[in-house]
């Protein structure tokens, strides 16, 4: 039974250059407590997909349609007000990208994290701070930091505060948008350790957005590779990291410099496809080493097991 099921989701933006197809017919589903990694290069639509799930849309939206089923009910049928009151931050929350400097500099971090509890749930301050204290120990922040201001914390600690903020309302799904990309490797690893522990000990469903294939493997049970606004491959972690199917996934994997093996990393020739008037057919065709004539037609979604798929003519029977 899928817990989150996204079906034919579209998000187009109006720009001066034309319509930008940021999310173009995306479908996937994940089970409860399963983690999905969403990987791809900048501008492939990963963060836009997160915006759809949080319904945090900019003003220049031209098209926003499709279905987002959470536990069976379609979130797209909710009004903005209903979505705000019952879903956003309460059931689906997010650690936004580059949020390190977005904490309020004049409020103690403990109180900042407690704030939504005071506003949305009718509990007193003492109780709310107690809850924050528990949460801080979960995300690895020393108790003494409750009364500190953001500037007194290191980057790693601030990122933990922001993760605590995303967890405070007890959500079921947490979207992590590049949660470690601004951090040093040791801090990155300790934050990933913390997320793995939470994943192990709770029922949380994580959606990890990253351009770093190695980091994605730190959390992912399932991997979705995005290219040009579409998911080109949705696969289980076991199969994906061993043998990715879509030519783009393969190229992405080949570009990862390996620390331990003697394998020269390769880059993908050409530039990512434009999302304004993308070419007909397969969007990766121009950069694909396996291109055939067929690729100028829309590639089929070839089903794999467990609802996974690859969008490529190579696998069509």
């Amino acid at each position: 039974m899928s817990f989150l099921k996204v079906e034919d989701l579209y998000l187009y933006y109006r720009t001066r250059m034309g319509t930008l197809q940021a999310v173009d017919g995306v479908s996937f589903s994940i089970k409860k407590a399963e983690s999905l990694a969403l990987i791809g290069e900048s501008g492939c639509g990963k963060s836009s997909l997160a915006k759809c799930l949080m319904r945090l849309l900019p003003r220049n939206v031209e098209l926003f349609k499709g279905h987002i089923y959470l536990d069976g009910s379609d979130l797209m049928e909710l009004s903005d007000e209903e979505f705000r009151k019952t879903i956003r931050w309460q059931r689906i929350s997010m650690v936004p990208q580059a949020a390190l400097n977005s904490l309020n500099p004049v409020i103690k971090v403990g109180e900042q994290v407690a704030e939504p509890l005071l506003i949305h749930k009718s509990i007193d301050k003492k109780e709310a701070l107690e809850r924050v204290r528990e949460l801080f120990s979960l995300v690895g922040i020393p108790q003494a930091f409750m009364d500190r201001y953001p500037f007194e914390l290191s980057g790693g600690m601030r990122q933990r505060v922001i993760i605590a903020m995303a967890l405070i309302m007890n959500p079921e799904i947490v979207i992590l948008d590049e949660p470690t990309s601004a951090l040093d490797v040791l801090i990155q690893a300790s934050i990933m350790n913390m997320l793995k522990r939470i994943k192990r000990e709770s029922n949380l469903t994580f959606i990890l957005i990253t351009h770093d294939v190695s980091i994605s493997s730190e959390l992912a049970d399932k991997v979705a590779v995005m290219y040009g606004g579409q998911i080109v491959e949705l696969n289980d972690a076991e199969s994906f990291y061993k043998s990715p199917l879509h030519p783009y996934s393969q190229k992405l994997m080949a570009s990862v410099p390996s620390l331990r093996e003697d394998k020269q990393p390769e880059y993908i020739p050409g530039a990512p496809v434009s999302l304004i008037n993308p070419p007909k057919g397969c969007r990766f065709a121009d950069r694909c080493p396996f291109r055939t004539e067929k690729c100028s037609e829309e590639p089929p979604l070839v089903s794999l097991k467990d609802g996974n798929y690859v969008r490529c003519w190579l696998y069509a029977r």
Binding site: A189, N193, S258
Partner: protein
């Protein structure tokens, strides 16, 4: 090491920044670089690896002459650079190129690519015809071709990868012998990263230049440099050939850095990595003895927290500053 192959030597280089605590407080020092020595050979690349605040950027800037060292020596091509006269300094600046982290910030937004590349040559009085030739050559070498398509573009019209190529072309335009690349690819996508690093490597071989590649990302060092130097809290703690260091790291800090970086593998999600506790120390009042000792699992009481470890050559070309490897301590 054959003396004539050495391009750059640093000897006990220090850079301390003075800050005052409180209005009438006493002056204290941030010891960003605290005694760095190494030799860099012609045509070779060093990866300088370490976390934010370890002093790697300060080291790059001090070598370039953008920061005045507090003490120590910089010897370039046999000449002493620190406190030298203006004429030598001007010569030295021509010998060095700088590739910054943020390409967009490094390029003046109101200049075309042509003008950006021309600027250093105008300052150094290269005549007009030669300027044109060199611009064509440089843009071809960084593969911004056809050249005509790029000459009149402004930085904002280029992608991040293309901007970084312009920065590289500018750094190369005076035919320097040394390039310092400070996190040149950390703002780029994975595939573009490899493309830019491959390009730098090619230019290094083609022109026999030396590169100091400053990065926090160990995983990109393997294919793009001959040496890795690991920095921690203002000091270099380990120096070794790339493959040797990646295979056989000696310093507990190098080991920790290496262990923290995953290779893509579905099993990673079940592994909790062992990491040193805490965070790098303040450079104002660094720990006594070995600076890593408060976080080190192998700490020897009464030694590591008292006396600074000497640098020893553990194996040929593999240097480490750690008491664990000192025979007579």
């Amino acid at each position: 090491m054959a003396e004539d192959r050495i391009l750059l030597s640093l000897r006990d280089l220090k850079k301390w920044y003075s800050i005052r605590k409180g209005i009438f407080g006493k002056t204290v020092y941030v010891k960003a670089l605290d005694g760095v020595s190494f030799d860099l050979r012609r045509g070779e690349a060093i990866s300088l690896v370490g976390e934010s605040g370890c002093g790697k950027t300060t080291l790059g800037r001090t070598i370039l002459g953008l920061e005045e060292p507090t003490s120590g020596k910089i010897i370039f091509d046999g000449r002493e650079i620190v406190n030298s006269d203006k004429k030598l300094m001007r010569w030295y600046r021509r010998q060095t190129g700088f590739v910054q982290q943020d390409p967009f910030g490094a390029l003046p937004p109101f200049m075309t690519v042509k003008r950006i590349l021309e600027e250093p040559m105008i300052i150094n009085k290269v005549d007009k015809r030669e300027r044109r030739e060199r611009i064509y050559k440089a843009l071809t070498e960084v593969r911004l071709t056809p050249v005509e398509d790029f000459l009149n573009k402004y930085p904002h019209m280029l992608s991040g990868g293309q901007q970084q190529r312009v920065v590289i072309a500018r750094a190369m335009i005076l035919n320097p012998k040394l390039i310092i690349a400070d996190e040149p690819v950390s703002m780029l996508d994975a595939s573009v990263r490899i493309e830019i690093l491959t390009l730098l490597k090619k230019l290094q071989k083609l022109h026999d230049i030396s590169i100091i590649y400053i990065t926090h990302d160990l995983s990109t060092t393997r294919y793009f440099s001959e040496w890795i130097f690991v920095m921690y809290a203002g000091k270099i703690v380990e120096k070794a050939p790339v493959k040797e260091l990646l295979k056989n790291p000696l310093h507990p800090y190098s080991k920790a850095l290496l262990a923290a970086i995953p290779d893509p593998d579905a099993r990673n999600r079940f592994i909790i990595r062992e990491l040193p506790p805490g965070e790098p120390p303040s450079l104002i009042d660094p720990p006594k003895g070995c600076r890593f000792h408060p976080r080190c699992v192998h700490k020897i009481k009464g030694l590591c927290d008292e006396k600074e470890p000497p640098e020893i050559e553990y194996e040929k070309d593999h240097f480490v500053s750690c008491w664990l490897y000192v025979q007579e301590r």
